[in-house]
Symmetry: C2
Subunit: 381 residues, 2 copies
């Protein structure tokens, strides 16, 4: 165990139909006007946005609608949202959607109270304040509903960068697992990969010996494996969708890294380069990167890989555990090689260059120079 | 998975020497005067109280000292604290000690802002507000540092009752595991029993099928078993003390019951009667009650007891799992029979009568009429 501070004050309201409470929650927080941000058309088609607006109306909350968030949310669109939030003097941001919508909502919440351009905060400036953020989640994957992270893509510079700040934890997040029943199976698979990767980053890159946190991680991974398989054969399996949703939240809400000391996010670092350049789904990029990274990293922490193999798959070697995870990705139809998403091996140097920028940003450039990243990526050819 | 709301905004600061930050934390919260509550002499002898006062002084926080909290904190002493808090117009309560000190601090925080006698809140009145609570923990066991519970004993009526309210979650809790190195081994054992019982109550009394939460519980139990054994042979084992401390916090901070639906606290119900009447340590009472309750309850939820036996002890029957847990209590020298703490079998009817009062208070009187409680207690003769 290492020193840590844990402080996560997000209120989670979990259950069917709970989006009807959003008006009351905003009212209780003294909010009278929100920026209502969402993605493309699915929340309109499903009727969710109408239900949300009905709840807002019932509690006299005014709103400015702002749709069209991309699945890798863009800086340009974020800037539009900030302009709108400032113009309409909204008091909070209400995000209705998946992790991308939530991440953009957080960036707008920061930008709305800042004089400078919001990208400054993604390249190093400290976040000092943000508008309160409320969320209604429609896709379980990123954990953004209960953490202080936001990832935005700058299409001009092809940088997918993040902020991490206590000021952008959502005040209230409503998790209705029924809203995820209609998530297509390919996106469900990518979400499973994302949640597994979130807990694996710390699990493998920390020092060994924090067994409590290892057990929490293993409990989350086993739950994601189990529930994903159930969902694959029955997409509206209510119990599986619900457990999957809560597992994905716990996978990145600060619980599993509390007390583990220093760790890093190498898989996310490399994947952010992939989706910044090729705009592929984040989870699809991760299922390509993770087996490659694991094969490269395994010799640096063999005991933890052996533990992983034993606890998760009942296997007796680290190599077998990695192979089993890669095979599971194949089973749920998430890609495991670059060519599966149309990325040629000849692009590896460019991807590595992009990821190396993030490695510098995250302070792990010594561990991950450009050539090392390229070496890892070559294991995914 | 069932509907739930999870909202735990306590800030945890974990690590050696972190008590030095208390002045700064109070200052940041705008507090200028606290009631500084502690137990008997150990925090004075150890120098901890001096270090705390040094930190308060450095940040210009004034204090009123109030010591002498009992290990089963008493209503009469709580009332004295409330009078003092009102008289000196303190703005927050700072608790330095174990769960008992924290629980009394919470009761004082409620009483200090109430016109009526504080006991009213323990027998049903709803808590509407409380002074902010800050804690420095010296004994890992009760989870009070990160939850909204407070248990107080009314010696006159021999009732050990509780409040449970969002208003008494600590604002900040400082957990320095080194402060627990000097906890005597018998109290360490009682603490281990307490933490295990906290997670077992929900694990066994809920509906089956919430595997994620089961896995979190099992991770906590395995950690408590493992670290307690290490501490028993090396009381200052730093890693074990630290993991034990965090495991005890997670055991009752709302994490493990989130999503499990309805459950109850039968072991605590019966034990509260024991320590209300005989003033025995809470954990000692629990290690007597729990094996008895498990033997009685096992037929009502056999699959979960089989799971417990397999996951925790690698055994293949519920009965064997219960026997293994009871044997483990014996190994760590926590009592498992009433006579070990001097309670004669002839008192069982009186204990059952007392516990039945709590069963009514907690809404489980139908499941636990007096005669059923007596039947369970007879298994602990």
């Amino acid at each position: 165990m290492f020193d840590f501070t844990f402080h996560n004050s997000t209120k989670i309201i979990f259950g069917a139909g709970k989006e009807a409470l959003i008006g009351a929650e905003l009212h209780a927080a003294g909010i009278t006007r929100v920026l209502l941000i969402h993605g493309k058309n699915s929340v309109i088609r499903s009727g969710l946005l109408d239900r949300v607006m009905t709840s807002l109306k019932a509690d006299n909350i005014a709103w400015t609608k702002f749709g069209g968030v991309d699945s890798n949310p863009l800086l340009s669109h974020t800037r539009d949202g900030i302009a709108l939030a400032k113009q309409d003097k909204v008091e909070a941001i209400l995000a209705v959607g998946g992790g991308s919508v939530l991440d953009e909502a957080k960036a707008i919440a920061v930008g709305a109270l800042a004089a400078e351009d919001v990208w400054q905060f993604f390249i190093g400036q400290k976040v000092e304040r943000a508008l309160p953020i409320f969320t209604i989640l429609t896709l379980a994957a990123t954990g953004s509903e209960m953490n202080g992270n936001s990832v935005i893509t700058n299409a001009q510079t092809r940088q997918k960068y993040n902020i991490s700040s206590p000021h952008v934890y959502p005040t209230v997040s409503i998790l209705n697992p029924e809203l995820t029943h209609s998530v297509p199976l390919n996106y469900t698979a990518y979400s499973a990969v994302d949640a597994i990767t979130h807990v694996c980053e710390g699990y493998f890159t920390k020092q060994p010996g924090t067994h409590l946190q290892d057990r929490l991680v293993e409990g989350i991974i086993k739950t994601v494996l189990e529930t994903t398989s159930l969902i694959m054969s029955e997409p509206t399996h209510a119990k599986a969708r619900a457990s999957f949703m809560w597992a994905a939240t716990l996978a990145l809400n600060g619980l599993t890294p509390a007390g583990i000391g220093a760790y890093s996010f190498p898989n996310h670092m490399i994947e952010h380069a992939l989706s910044a350049i090729y705009n592929i789904p984040h989870g699809a990029g991760l299922s390509i990167v993770m087996p490659a990274w694991m094969k490269w990293y395994c010799p640096q922490n063999p005991s933890q890989f052996t533990r992983f193999a034993r606890e998760i798959f009942g296997l007796d070697s680290g190599t077998a555990g990695i192979a089993a995870l890669e095979q599971w990705f194949v089973t749920i139809k998430s890609p495991v090689r670059l060519h599966e998403v149309g990325i040629p091996a000849t692009d590896i140097e460019e991807i590595a260059e992009n990821a190396a920028g993030l490695a510098r940003q995250w302070g792990i450039a010594e561990l991950y120079p450009r050539e090392t990243i390229a070496e890892i990526l070559r294991l995914a050819i």
